[in-house]
């Protein structure tokens, strides 16, 4: 075992910290939360210029060819900063396309993702808000060399910014298909913006008899279900990495605040009640960190560990939300204000607790894998 970072990972971490500190201020993050689309575009373009959407795309498709753990290191920093950009959405979509797509699909989409020409976001959840791919109801009818898609996908992050959605549809005979559907400014694709706690744009999208070329189908039948589970697992680990960043940042902020804040003539951090809170926050963050990186390391071109991914998401969902709530308790009234940034972390942690499956969903997955 080796719990250290590689030289490349140290470099990624260093440059991410430097860039985010300068280009993703709390003001930027709040303005995006208030709906400033230009700020998202500017930030995302900078991510593209840094080569981040290309990070885990294979070199033969115009990417950097780094691994999922390298991505996790970057996402941890982005989580700690709260930068609202679709790096998770783009990265896991390109990962699954790289793993399941045909040669044609890969050469058609991956170089464009790497260069920032297109942006793909996953659209899996429907009205019942279930992450189980088998509950998919959105229908596709085959018509010559096209699929005609009808149905609604809910809780699609960055749908307003994305050019394509990576989605699941049910064919006439009941089989599932995973499709890359263009959604940018399509009259047959209706978007409804939601007011979402994450502070990033989240929408529902409705396909109204929308024609997509069958060349855009990535996988069908069991392959589609497998691809969907891999997408969910990749999303879970990516979100967990961001949640680790949130936990780390919230622990640091709370240590700093309680050390400087004095009551009864001493720092409140000198009281055992507060020290125990902070110790528990630190433990929870570290546990989540280990489970998350163990899961990230399991992703390779040969497969991944679904157990490790489920463990990471269960821990990250529950433990980091708790870290945030305990931080509120340690901050007292000041952390209860809109002006203080703490609630931005809490909102993000709550939103991501359910994204790509909540603990109950992942507990069922894990139990299943244990043979129950």
């Amino acid at each position: 075992m080796n719990f250290g970072l590689t030289e490349t990972q140290e470099m990624i971490r260093g440059s991410a910290r430097e860039f985010l500190l300068e280009n993703s201020s709390p003001e930027t993050i709040r303005s995006i939360g208030d709906g400033d689309q230009d700020a998202i575009s500017t930030l995302w373009q900078a991510f593209v210029d840094l080569g981040w959407p290309a990070l885990i795309i294979a070199e033969e498709y115009g990417g950097t060819g780094l691994g999922f753990t390298d991505l996790a290191v970057l996402l941890e920093e982005i989580g700690a900063n709260l930068a609202p950009t679709p790096l998770v959405e783009s990265s896991i979509s390109s990962w699954v396309i790289g793993r399941y797509g045909s040669k044609y699909i890969k050469s058609e989409f991956l170089p464009k993702v790497a260069s920032g020409e297109i942006l793909i976001t996953p659209a899996l959840v429907e009205r019942d808000a279930s992450w189980d791919p088998k509950t998919t109801k959105a229908a596709a009818i085959k018509s010559n060399s096209n699929l005609i898609i009808s149905g609604e996908k809910r809780f699609v992050s960055f749908a307003e910014n994305a050019t394509h959605a990576l989605t699941l549809v049910r064919m006439q005979h009941g089989d599932l298909a995973m499709v890359v559907a263009p959604i940018w400014k399509m009259p047959e694709v209706e978007q409804t913006r939601l007011k979402h706690a994450s502070g990033v744009p989240v929408s529902s999208i409705k396909f109204n008899e929308f024609e997509v070329s069958d060349l855009n189908v990535i996988a069908i039948n069991d392959q589609a279900i497998q691809a969907a589970y891999e997408l969910i697992s990749a999303g879970s680990v990516a979100r967990s990495a961001q949640l680790v960043g949130i936990g780390r940042k919230v622990v640091d902020t709370t240590v700093e605040y309680t050390t400087n804040r004095e009551q009864f003539g001493r720092p409140v951090a000198s009281f055992q009640a507060i020290q125990h809170h902070l110790a528990e926050m630190a433990i929870a963050t570290k546990q989540t960190r280990h489970l998350t990186y163990a899961a990230a390391c399991s992703f390779s071109s040969d497969g991944y560990s679904p157990e490790a991914a489920a463990r990471a998401k269960i821990a990250a969902s529950d433990k980091i939300a708790k870290v945030c709530w305990t931080a509120h308790q340690c901050h007292g009234a000041i952390g209860f204000t809109w002006e203080h940034d703490l609630h931005l972390y809490t909102r993000r942690a709550l939103a991501w607790k359910t994204d790509y499956g909540d603990p109950v969903f992942h507990q069922s997955l894990l139990a299943n894998l244990m043979g129950f």
């Binding site: 009205r127 019942d128 109801k137 939601l194 706690a197 308790q329 909540d358």
Partner: protein, 391 residues
């Protein structure tokens, strides 16, 4: 022992409940956002209605317009009001300042202020916390200087609920900077219209303007607005806090939220169910039912003891801890049940239960923090209740 209400108590609860049926809008879900004019008007209307029926200050003695109602009746009143998330309760005037004036105020002060609290006319706010004095309240720095014919106040109060709506404030200020922290403080009454008072809104993490920062710049107040003796305000001020500390509001809010969840879970008959009800859903709801009922009984025990003339300090702290925690457990489970929908904020398209659970969870993050953090309450339970050593 008996755990049900007397016939008289039941009758009162029913009367209050049907009064609220009439007063609250049909689709009322609360809690009131008093920065909104319509909610503030509702608050005032209900407060006056309660006053008219003799319920607003029913625990006060007859001399001051009350009915000598027992602490038990008072708790039944608070529980029903909170269960309905109804505004107009006025705890600052009726539960905190009123009893304090009865004990520490002059004859003139009682005459001048108690009547307008009892009639629901005057809104009071509480000026205690300061930027550097939260849990450590005795470290307040706002100064009140005796200039001979009046007090001159300078300083800043913070987290002042309803300051933007209040006519008057009761405040703690330092009147002897050279004395020990607890010994140089006085309790003063301030007209919020006095020149030199600036009320600055603070928006909370639920996005609601519920409290304020209040800045005093050379504010003159009459000498007769001192309550109790000069420099003896700590005793009067702490008495106020004892009236404040009860968990019944939280226990009732928790019950309301739990019932709403049970109802929502049972009645989701849409084709694609949002709540995937399974055996564990019922078990979790049952687990919460236990927490909420236990919290409620803790609160009623406090009232029972008060009714016997005890000062159940440790029990009051316990009730605050368990009730605030039970409420948060219910809200957290609500968010869990709602899943992806749990994080849609009020006003969102496609929100379930109008995004209420999310807003409530954000809002009541303050429960374990305000009116003495739960950590401070546990110190009280350990030291005063269990008599554990302090060092």
């Amino acid at each position: 022992m008996r755990f049900d209400f007397t016939a008289e108590e039941k009758e009162f609860k029913n009367q209050l409940s049907s009064f609220l049926d009439d007063e609250l809008p049909v689709d009322w879900h609360g809690p009131a956002d008093e920065s909104r004019d319509d909610h503030w008007n509702l608050n005032q209307k209900i407060k006056k209605g309660l006053a008219k029926r003799g319920w607003l200050v029913m625990s006060w003695s007859k001399e001051y317009g009350g009915a000598n109602a027992s602490p038990m009746m008072n708790t039944i009143f608070a529980e029903e009001m909170a269960y309905r998330r109804a505004p107009g309760h006025d705890r600052f005037g009726t539960r905190m300042l009123g009893p304090t004036l009865m004990r520490f105020g002059t004859q003139e002060q009682r005459k001048k202020y108690l009547g307008s609290i009892a009639s629901g006319k005057t809104q009071w706010c509480q000026g205690y916390s300061e930027p550097n004095a939260g849990s450590d309240l005795a470290s307040i720095q706002t100064q009140a200087v005796d200039t001979g014919d009046h007090f001159l106040i300078n300083g800043t109060k913070i987290w002042t609920s309803l300051a933007h709506r209040a006519d008057m404030m009761f405040m703690l200020a330092r009147t002897d900077p050279s004395a020990d922290p607890h010994k140089g403080i006085s309790l003063l009454l301030v007209d919020m219209k006095s020149p030199g008072i600036d009320v600055l809104p603070i928006i909370n993490m639920a996005g609601i303007h519920s409290f304020n920062q209040v800045v005093f710049d050379q504010v003159k107040i009459p000498k007769e607005n001192l309550v109790g003796s000069l420099n003896d305000g700590w005793r009067a001020g702490i008495t106020v806090l004892n009236f404040e500390r009860s968990g019944i509001d939280y226990a009732a809010w928790a019950r309301a939220a739990l019932n709403e969840l049970i109802d929502y879970t049972k009645h989701d008959d849409s084709e694609t169910k949002i709540i995937q009800s399974c055996p564990s859903t019922g078990q979790r709801l049952a687990e919460l039912d236990v927490e909420v009922e236990a919290a409620r009984l803790m609160c009623y025990d406090v009232s029972y003891r008060q009714g016997k003339g005890e000062v159940p300090s440790s029990e009051a702290s316990m009730s605050k801890v368990v009730a605030t925690e039970a409420y948060i457990k219910v809200l957290d489970y609500g968010l869990e049940l709602l899943g992806m929908y749990g994080v849609l904020e009020p006003g969102s398209n496609q929100a379930e239960l109008q995004g209420r659970f999310f807003k409530l969870r954000m809002f009541y993050t303050s429960g374990p923090i305000l009116a003495g953090t739960n950590e401070i309450q546990k110190n009280i339970i350990a030291q005063r209740g269990l008599k554990l050593p302090r060092k």
